[in-house]
């Protein structure tokens, strides 16, 4: 194998293939899927179908944007699922007394508060963020269960359903909210000082600190953003369904969010990643589900395939760093 024609550019040598694949895998896969699905499934490339995709992808997408930021800064947040559910409980409890918007607002602020708390314990107690947020998520779930006694809360007020069900120029409010998160998140990461701080802190925390970056503040900021985003997503959810019940939100929001982020190619080792990747990741996974439904593929296979895709994405990430 060492006798490769020297005139071939090294882009084709072993290492570079891994690197290029890692770098643009999501773009290539996304385009390939787009072409296959539009060719095979009749109603795929329609405005309605696009909106449907966004409708199912936007809520966890809001959480995924924040999760991207957190992975870039080298941390992990298992708690955002619990916050997502908890915010609904807070809003549902307060709504009869305070009205719709104040109760939703307070819910979001509660999410932000839990995020700040997570940031503080991770940075000051130096606890691994995986464990720390696992612990805090148990606490949040516990509080939610205590507050509701395990019962389902129900808010019949039509006013309460506005955020989750009304549209603006034919597009759901919460899709617009997702859009705002994407635009702001993408802009901050790629164009601002704050973005550079986040990448630097995740890439090499000590070098970042010695470059004058307040890495603790950056970390706490990332966790706070994660709490806030989970809060917003939770407010949308409660408004959409009108019911809240205690839970950890793992399967509804956290797992799909993590899947979208890593499939997009953001490194779980910190320092590398982007919001556009996560957006493509969301679309990719939604398309697969959507396309399989159109093609009537058995849902069990869908889950297996999605799991395999995530493994491939994380594997490529590990490979690109592991080889020396």
């Amino acid at each position: 194998m060492s006798r490769i024609d020297a005139s071939l550019p090294s882009r084709f040598s072993r290492r570079s293939v891994v690197e290029v694949l890692r770098e643009y895998a999501i773009v290539v896969s996304f385009l390939a899927l787009l072409i296959i699905l539009s060719a095979t499934a009749d109603h795929f490339l329609t405005w309605i179908n696009l909106l449907n995709t966004l409708e199912s992808g936007s809520i966890y997408g809001i959480v995924a944007v924040a999760f991207t930021v957190l992975l870039i800064v080298g941390e992990f947040d298992l708690c955002s699922g619990a916050i997502y559910v908890f915010v609904g409980i807070v809003a549902a409890k307060l709504q009869p007394d305070l009205g719709t918007w104040p109760s939703l607002g307070i819910g979001v602020v509660a999410g932000l508060g839990v995020g700040i708390f997570n940031g503080l314990i991770v940075t000051f107690l130096r606890i691994n963020s995986f464990i720390a947020t696992l612990a805090s998520s148990l606490m949040v779930v516990g509080i939610g269960t205590e507050v509701t006694n395990g019962f389902q809360l129900y808010i019949p007020d039509p006013d309460f359903a506005v955020l989750g069900n009304e549209k603006f120029i034919g597009v759901d409010y919460f899709i617009w909210i997702f859009f705002v998160f994407v635009v702001i998140g993408g802009f901050v990461l790629s164009r601002t000082k704050l973005g550079r701080w986040l990448y630097a802190t995740g890439g090499n925390s000590e070098a970042a600190r010695l470059s004058g970056i307040n890495t603790r503040a950056v970390r706490i900021g990332a966790f706070s953003f994660s709490g806030f985003a989970a809060g917003v997503a939770g407010a949308v959810l409660i408004s959409r369904t009108g019911t809240a019940i205690a839970g950890d939100g793992l399967a509804d929001v956290l797992f799909p969010a993590i899947a979208a982020v890593v499939v997009g190619g953001t490194s779980i080792q910190g320092g590398r990643g982007a919001i556009w990747r996560t957006v493509l990741g969301i679309f990719f996974l939604e398309f697969i589900r959507n396309g399989f439904n159109l093609l009537e593929v058995n849902p069990y296979y869908q889950a297996i395939i999605q799991g395999a895709i995530i493994l491939v994405a994380v594997g490529a990430d590990a490979l690109s760093r592991g080889t020396k």
């Binding site: 020297a6 090294s10 570079s16 000082k193 004058g212 307040n214």
Partner: protein, 522 residues
């Protein structure tokens, strides 16, 4: 495994099964836009020390990695003991008796010395690691190369010189008969480096071949039998070390001749103001009660043995570690003492380890250079791309750092160019004082000279420089004034004509002679 190699063979000799010769023919390797090696052919005779020299980015490490199976060439072939080999991994090379000691050490910091040495090569008995056998073999090899630390201490508690020896032990337990050493002395003090040269000679005399990569031409001339010069990925010449001179090598490396002496020192003007003032700084047990002033235009050397507290002092001044006492920049007391506040007041620090403390390896060259002064290239927190691009290009140029493009990850630059980028990062906004900890580590002769001139130029612009270097001649050749640290205290100060090797070394070792040499600080 076709020749007489004996894996795990007789315990009495380290590399007694005969040294390996290696021949490379027509090797080429390209990384994206950079041609790291082009049609390089070379023959390394069994049992010789064969040096590879060349500028930063000349392709030395790449060639070493290819020979040791860590990187696959795009074209060309490798013959070991006369037979063509195709390595797919370092494991394949190890099986043939070839080991590589990387430029950046590859040990596992949290594991013990013993575990690191035997990692992946555990002698086992019935599937269990045979600890007793490991210890026995370790003791024997450790004695052989003069490694005196306990096998059970963790790697991260060892000094670099000791870690270097652990890497050599790693190669020896694998019965390596050809060892590629990539800049093994770059992080060592003179005494430690001399010891390493001795070990290397000893390896050769016991039947190992050594490929030795170094920027220290004095070492190369003293140690090697044959010297190969690379330039821009091409083979320039190979010849016996005898009769070769430093000037001859430099001319071959750079394609032009160069003055190897230190640039002349220009004295700072009389009565220049104090730019950096350190008062009663303490961080026991690393150092205590350190006070000194640096004037505008002055280069102050901080000399002392490794472990004497020099790096700790620099870090504390910068605010990287907590300490008591005061630091003033142009009379303004720094409060709080954090890196961020220090930078805002015009204090810069080039840290000791570029990989761990200086650079963010996964990020692009450009971001690494601008990261400490984003304010200079942004507007209300928004990065101005064009301004950043041109400013970064400018400062990289000023230190003569070469990168194919500034958007690639900085890990793709050669070691020397990384170091230049780590310096350039502090020039985006000219500081008032610079704490430079090992500024020329891993840098080629041409670039070293460029950095010396840069330090002079900065001093002439009115910067105060605190210089730490394990190369005593660097301190002697550059500094206007030398402070000597021993066991965390400043024990001597020498100015002008008083600065010479003997006075400085005597102060560094203390009255009791060799007593202070060693490991007081972690």
């Amino acid at each position: 495994m076709s020749d007489s190699a004996s894996v795990g063979g007789g315990p009495s000799r380290t590399a007694a099964d005969g040294a390996l010769g290696v021949v490379v023919r027509g090797i080429s390797k390209r990384y994206g836009g950079a041609q790291a090696l082009e049609d390089v052919s070379l023959s390394v005779a069994p049992g010789e020390v064969h040096a590879l020299v060349g500028e930063n980015g000349a392709g030395k490490s790449t060639l070493g990695k290819i020979i040791a199976g860590a990187v696959a060439p795009d074209a060309g072939e490798i013959l070991v003991a006369g037979r063509p080999v195709h390595f797919h991994s370092p494991r394949d090379a190890i099986r043939e008796g070839i080991a590589l000691i990387h430029q950046e050490l590859q040990l596992v910091p949290a594991l013990s010395v013993l575990d690191n040495v035997f990692l992946g090569a555990e002698p086992s008995r019935g599937g269990f690691v045979d600890r007793a056998r490991q210890r026995e073999r370790f003791a024997e090899l450790a004695a052989h190369i003069g490694f005196r630390q306990s096998p059970s201490v963790r790697i991260e508690t060892l000094r670099v010189a000791e870690q270097q020896k652990v890497e050599i032990l790693r190669a020896l337990v694998r019965n390596a008969r050809l060892i590629v050493m990539d800049e093994p002395t770059a992080a060592l003090t003179r005494i430690e480096a001399d010891r390493l040269l001795e070990i290397t000679r000893d390896l050769r005399d016991h039947g190992a071949t050594v490929i030795y990569v170094s920027h220290d031409l004095g070492d190369v001339l003293a140690l090697s039998d044959t010297i190969t010069v690379l330039k821009d990925g091409r083979h320039v010449k190979t010849g016996p070390a005898r009769g070769e001179t430093a000037n001859g090598l430099v001319t071959a490396m750079l394609g032009r001749s160069m003055d190897l002496t230190f640039p002349p020192r220009r004295q700072p003007p009389e009565g220049a103001p104090v730019v950096l003032s350190v008062k009663g700084l303490s961080r026991p047990p690393a150092f205590e009660d350190v006070s000194f002033d640096i004037h505008a235009g002055e280069i102050v050397g901080l000399a002392g043995l490794v472990g004497s507290g020099r790096t700790e002092i620099a870090r504390a001044i910068f605010g990287a570690d907590p300490s008591t006492g005061a630091v003033e920049i142009e009379g303004t007391r720094l409060q709080p003492r954090s890196p961020g506040n220090s930078i805002r007041h015009g204090l810069a620090m080039l840290p000791e380890s570029r990989k761990d403390q200086g650079l963010i390896m996964v990020r692009p060259v450009r971001e690494n250079v601008s990261i400490a002064h984003l304010r200079e290239v942004s507007w209300h927190g928004i990065i101005q791309a064009a301004r950043e691009r041109s400013r970064v290009a400018e400062v990289l140029n000023s230190v003569d750092a070469r990168a194919a493009n500034h958007s690639m990850a900085i890990s793709g630059l050669s070691g020397g160019n990384q170091q230049k980028a780590a310096i350039a990062k502090w020039l985006v906004k000219t500081p008032k004082a610079l704490l430079a900890d090992e500024p020329t580590r891993g840098i080629d002769v041409g670039a070293k000279r460029a950095i010396y001139e840069l330090i002079h130029r900065l001093a002439e612009q009115g910067l105060g420089v605190l210089l730490i270097s394990s190369e005593l001649e660097e301190v002697l050749g550059l500094a206007h004034r030398v402070l000597v640290v021993r066991s965390g205290r400043i024990v001597g100060e020498f100015v002008g004509k008083q600065i010479n090797e003997e006075t400085v070394m005597r102060a560094a070792f203390g009255e009791t002679g060799m007593g202070a040499h060693g490991d007081e600080a972690a």
